[in-house]
Subunit: 406 residues, 2 copies
């Protein structure tokens, strides 16, 4: 009786509710001279899994970075030589163009996949990506799709990549003219921030990443905003000590948000870290990426702060502190693209079309973050376009008057 | 004083240890007549997120299935019409070849991405994939990389897809001649198993999926093996009632394993659900995919069970029960490919090369599962090739004698 019951299986065909829980752990390191032979940080990060055999590594390097740091390749090869018990470069490092170009052509992904294949890399091997946010995004997409995910070591070399894009969980490239149309949510295996890289950034790239720090300060941390405000001029003058502290705190705030938000893979519609970004993404696109991401974000922050002030949520004094700080940092807060086709919100050249595109990329209901105060974001699902038009005109005036007063 | 301390930020540049936790919830449903107008299951799965607007859906359909079920397209369109308040097909359904072909050409991925782009789909829209495991794997890879992940509804239409591949967290396609070289770990949004689809499967595809049930029973659930053994002949004779129970229990065991293993995205080297699979993957490849996946798995199970017996871990009586059950189910347990280049384990045509390739795909140390008893798997990291050679010869003998006795 018992056996026959067992053998018949008591099955009711009810739906099976599955819950899959996954934890990803990774460390974000801060260092100088990452590839100096006596700096064992990178080798340690690779050796940390306890397996003794030397692991194959495919290195991907930002060609724009190499132009400024022409000894880097040599240094990497010498470093690999020194730590050959820990890892070996399975092929010549792959050098790719820096900047958005590398995200606009899927051939770079294929090139990395090819190298992973030829090197016989497995899921416990490494892709070592060295460069700006664009190269890291692209290499991350390649790494996280080969064998359903090879370990990704990110070495961010710009301010923005060190304090924001390189420490998070997103990878991707552009397709069909849409920013980040293809990509994955997948955390890196480790992040190695080397401040020394920042010395060769041009002024625009140095400044650009600061916008993300202003962003996260405004929505989360009033003290951090005070810090940026206090040292805005020093930052504009490339004070490295202040920059290092800014990067550390900014990456920390981003990391805390990702870990604590309850939605690290953005399955819902809420994305507070994208404060100022609906306009920024559209502006980058409308200007054919002649604006840096951070430059566009600065304008987006200025715009959404002004709108927050106009809707009565943000104090006038706070609003002015924000715009003044952005100006001292050296950001332009207005450009003519903002006013194109303003009365035709569906026109592809109208900034407001960015609201629809933002919603489309995120999914679900429109959700944008505004400010209730410095250090305090708030989400809204509807906007008043006429107030936004007014905000744009105010930025235009502000820019004009600050040019005149110079 | 206080402000200046704040403004200076107390920073020590210690590494930041990040832990990202993600939970994925999805239901696996069992039904009949999924696209009958009065079956609201699919519409409910889409409406479940509570958003009221009709959601755009890109449907991807297995062309091999359509050959047998030529009313399917019509039914789907009528169903979409009936539930237009809940969802709309954003384009003509995309019909792709069934079987491994669809995983060997990346153009199908591009076609789906294109359709997602044209339809303006967002992360809260749906890809509805209907078909065998190959089509689901491919469509899943496309869906989980667009916008970093569009919701994936899987409608598996083969035994194997309903009881194994379609309920899990893996997506992928082949590249560089390597199985699943590209892919993602990403759970579906929901799975809808409709038993009615199974009626048109040819005998080989009907049988093939049963191998995965034998596999999971052998490593996890002795009662389930008893069930399969008891009803092996009925299963071979296409008894639908028994098949439904087999599928339910098998998918349940797979789901439990994925949720409970502690490593659903396979970051470690342990993969008990791949019992019998190191040989299976190699055989599929060596036979140019003329073997079905499940047919290859049946041989892999026979081989690893025999090896488990030869190493003294598995009782002779258990070993015989396993082989006999597989035979009654109709599986061949030997083919000449098994003995090619047997003395040259590194030769690309040698079965044993599959051990290296298996390790490479998984990463880390070699880890394969053997049997300590029926319902009881055990992991090992080293194998004795001479015993494996003996096991292969025993399968050859066994096959010969069972042919003779027929
Ligand atoms: N994944 C994310 O979460 C995330 C977040 C924000 C932004 N992003 C992406 O990051 C990208 C922008 O990244 P970015 O701001 O780092 O710019 P970038 O990667 O476009 O690099 C800017 C330029 O600096 C060069 N460069 C890099 N390091 C250098 C160095 N040390 N010295 C001199 N030149 C150097 C590059 O070659 C490039 O020409 C965008 O594609 C954006 O979409 C991603
Ligand atoms: N993702 C995973 O976890 C996982 C696990 C195991 C296997 N797989 C993959 O699954 C694939 C095998 O899947 P499969 O066994 O379902 O075979 P399949 O997808 O290759 O389909 C076999 C054949 O049946 C046809 N077909 C599909 N449904 C039909 C129906 N109802 N009636 C008649 N014909 C129908 C198909 O067109 C095809 O020609 C392999 O690519 C394998 O790698 C994936
Ligand atoms: Zn940004
Ligand atoms: Zn399988």
């Amino acid at each position: 009786m018992k056996t026959s019951l067992k053998q018949n299986l008591a099955i009711n065909f009810q739906p099976i509710s599955q819950c899959v829980r996954v934890s990803f752990n990774y460390d974000v390191h801060f260092t100088r001279g990452l590839f100096k032979l006596d700096n064992s940080l990178l080798a340690q990060a690779i050796a940390a899994d306890g397996h003794s055999a030397a692991k194959p590594v495919v290195a991907v390097i930002d060609g724009g970075l190499l132009q400024y740091q022409d000894k880097l390749l040599e240094k990497l090869l010498a470093y690999a030589q020194r730590y050959q018990d820990v890892f070996t470069l399975s092929s010549e490092p792959i050098i790719v163009p820096g900047g958005e170009t590398v995200k606009n052509d899927s051939r770079f992904i294929e090139q990395i996949h090819q190298s992973i294949n030829l090197g016989g890399l497995c899921r416990h091997s490494y892709v070592l990506a060295i460069g700006g946010g664009a190269v890291l995004d692209m290499a991350g997409y390649a790494a996280t799709t080969a064998h359903r995910g090879i370990r990704l070591l990110r070495v961010p070399t710009t301010v923005l990549a060190q304090n924001d894009s390189g420490v998070g969980v997103k990878n991707g490239i552009n397709a069909f003219g849409k920013k980040n149309f293809l990509g994955t949510f997948m955390p890196p295996y480790a992040v190695l921030n080397d401040f020394d890289f920042l010395t060769t950034l041009d002024d625009r790239d140095w400044r650009s990443g600061i916008a993300e720090a202003v962003k996260v300060a405004l929505i989360k941390d009033r003290n951090f905003f005070d810090f940026i405000q206090t040292y805005a001029e020093k930052l504009a003058n490339r004070d490295m000590d202040i920059m290092e502290r800014l990067i550390y705190r900014c990456s920390q705030l981003h990391l805390e948000h990702i870990a604590g938000s309850g939605d690290p893979f953005e399955m819902g519609s809420s994305r507070p870290l994208d404060f100022g970004h609906w306009a920024a993404h559209k502006l980058e696109h409308l200007t054919n990426y002649s604006l840096r991401h951070g430059e566009a974000v600065a304008i987006g922050i200025a715009l959404d702060s002004t709108y927050s002030y106009l809707t009565g949520q943000l104090l006038r004094s706070h609003w002015q502190q924000i715009l003044t700080t952005l100006k001292i940092l050296g950001f332009a807060l207005y450009l003519p693209t903002l006013t194109e086709q303003l009365d035709r919100p569906d026109h592809p050249h109208c900034l407001f079309r960015g609201l629809t595109e933002f919603r489309e990329h995120l999914g679900g209901e429109l959700t944008i973050t505004l400010l209730q105060g410095i250090g305090q974001g708030i989400e809204v699902h509807k906007v008043d376009l006429s107030l936004y038009r007014q905000a744009i005109l105010m930025l235009q005036d502000w820019e004009l008057s600050s040019v005149l007063s110079n």
